[in-house]
């Protein structure tokens, strides 16, 4: 076994185990963390296949952004597992059948006869200075540029839609809005006024009774 094979089998085993743990573990936060481990080991497998751009982008986008937001939501959930498990036995036969059907479909498409070196051929090993980034970028910005721009516009539409759906402005009688731009641009002169006053000399207090005695 070469060092490369050792790394590959290690990463592949971690990916498979963490994928299994992700769907079996009960706690949703732990499930999300197992998914993160699955992503990282998959990225490692891609990097051993000399697709370093894809591997690093997988970590950057999915681990660094998507899963953090996912955790952000999942952490705040207060899940009652008992309610979730209601009717487990009732739906078990149906669920098992659906699972079997999906597994059969996946086996037909992704079964072992579709993979292996005799089917795909030995992958050609690229030179050390081969740039995976360039290999992806050149077709992406030349041949597939319209599809690429279209996908970007689609995502933009998604962002706009999400913001438009959640945006609500309540009347200022209900909520106090802060205008941060105004707050940041505040100068000392707006808040602090120098006042010129005459110095006041303290007078000794003369009591009323003493006046009468004189």
């Amino acid at each position: 076994m070469t060092f490369e094979q050792f790394i590959f089998y290690l990463l592949a085993a971690i990916a498979a185990v963490s994928g299994l743990m992700m769907i079996t573990v009960k706690n949703p936060v732990k499930a999300a963390l197992w998914l993160v481990l699955a992503f990282i080991s998959t990225a490692g497998v891609w990097i051993t296949a000399q697709a370093e751009f894809l591997g690093l982008v997988l970590i950057l986008v999915y681990v660094g952004a998507v899963m953090v937001l996912f955790l952000f939501v999942v952490m705040m959930l207060d899940i009652n597992m008992a309610v979730l498990k209601e009717g487990f036995t009732k739906y078990l036969p149906l669920g098992a059948m659906a699972a079997l059907a999906i597994f059969a479909l996946m086996y037909m498409v992704l079964g072992p006869e579709h993979f292996g070196l005799d089917v795909t051929g030995t992958p050609d090993v690229k030179a050390a200075d081969f740039s995976n980034t360039e290999a992806i970028a050149v077709p992406l910005y030349t041949v597939h540029v319209y599809a690429f721009v279209l996908a970007a516009v689609l995502l933009l539409v998604g962002i706009v839609a999400a913001i438009a759906l959640t945006l609500r402005r309540r009347p200022t009688t209900e909520v106090l809005y802060q205008n941060i731009d105004k707050q940041v641009k505040t100068l000392a002169a707006d808040r602090f006024r120098m006042v010129k006053m005459d110095a006041v000399k303290e007078q000794p207090i003369v009591e009323a009774g003493e006046e009468d005695k004189k």
């Binding site: 936060v29 370093e52 690093l56 970590i59 950057l60 660094g64 953090v68 952000f72 705040m76 941060i180």
Partner: protein, 353 residues
């Protein structure tokens, strides 16, 4: 040096064992100096802030307090690690590891001088960005596993803040690789050869500030340390950590500070290049200075700025912090991507020829 060591080892060991031993030695050779710098950076921080506030700073342990970091490390290591009763024990232990692992792993691609780098990765910038994006898990998991409201608030703030500033940071890096035409850190430094005016500092001046400010936010340093916010949420995500588990969080924070300083000097300040390059007399006068020394001076200055800012600025309010990230830094970086594109199109200045 390590190549010949590996060849020597593989002459009487298994190949994979020889590679593994060499890799471990390389890792130690990089991590050990970093950890030592971290230790005395904490000392420097206390001294610098002390003098800025007209105090002495630590001055009891060793001459002028120089052994203070060792005393601190001993204290943290011998302290009891307390597990909160209702905490999630596995994740509670895992969180400091998740914080320190990326902060150490990221050093694999950082070049210290010409050719002195563990892995000269093609996609170096991307690797740094990807690995430092994992760092947020330490904060998030620590906050959740502690099962404390203060820690949880810190974790929520941390995850939102880091994702926001990572976007600005990513765009700043995009302008750098547009101008350098490479994601390899060694090539980025070599692209800045030929004197101070060839550094990427000038054409990317706004990006320099954006990157450094985002770096402050990524490392949770003042004025962006709302994650800790001791005035409001006690100590934020690590309020329940004690002893070395707390110490590991500190190690990770300071290692990331050094990393941000390294990245800023490599990408904008010419890395290990001498600032006197191209100046007739001074260039030959300072030719003996090793490359690592120039890089260290630049890094030391940026680290001083980190400490200086901590002594100067009050903490941002959270909504103001988010506004700065989303409404100021990100639009600025997007505009600058187009500016750099225009500069490239018109072959502007010495940077695009």
């Amino acid at each position: 040096m390590f190549d010949s060591l590996q060849a020597f080892l593989s002459s009487f060991l298994y190949d994979w064992l020889a590679i593994l031993i060499t890799l471990v030695l390389q890792a130690v050779a990089v991590i050990l100096p970093i950890m030592l710098v971290v230790a005395w950076l904490t000392y420097a921080e206390r001294k610098v802030i002390g003098y800025m506030q007209v105090r002495m700073g630590p001055n009891r342990v060793g001459p002028i307090g120089l052994l203070q970091p060792i005393a601190d490390a001993l204290k943290l290591m011998t302290k009891e690690v307390i597990f909160p009763a209702q905490s999630n024990r596995y994740l509670f232990i895992l969180a400091p590891i998740l914080a320190i692992a990326p902060a150490v792993a990221v050093w694999a691609v950082i070049p210290f001088s010409e050719g002195v780098v563990v892995t000269d990765l093609n996609a170096g910038i991307l690797y740094v960005l990807a690995v430092s994006s994992i760092l947020v898990y330490g904060t998030v998991v620590a906050g959740w596993a502690s099962n404390s409201k203060y820690a949880f608030l810190g974790a929520l703030r941390g995850s939102a803040q880091k994702i926001s500033y990572e976007i600005a940071m990513g765009f700043a890096l995009v302008t750098v690789l547009m101008i350098a035409g490479s994601m390899n850190l060694t090539e980025i430094v070599n692209g800045q050869q030929g004197g101070v005016w060839n550094w990427y500092l000038l054409p990317l001046l706004p990006m320099f500030f954006v990157y450094f400010i985002s770096g402050l936010a990524e490392t949770n340093r003042t004025p962006f340390d709302v994650i800790e916010g001791e005035a409001e949420i006690v100590a934020g995500f690590h309020v329940d950590y004690s002893g070395m588990t707390f110490g590991v969080f500190m190690l990770a924070e300071y290692a990331m500070m050094i990393l941000i300083s390294f990245m800023t000097s490599i990408m904008f300040l010419g890395g290990w290049l001498s600032p006197f390059e191209g100046i007739p007399v001074l260039e030959s006068l300072f030719a003996w200075v090793p490359q690592l020394a120039w890089l260290s001076i630049k890094v030391a200055f940026l680290l001083f700025v980190f400490l200086w800012l901590r002594a100067t600025f009050p903490r941002y309010r959270y909504d103001q912090l988010m506004r700065l990230g989303w409404k100021v830094l990100i639009p600025l970086t997007i505009v600058w991507v187009f500016v750099v594109g225009a500069m490239k199109y018109f072959s502007f200045g010495p940077w695009f020829n």
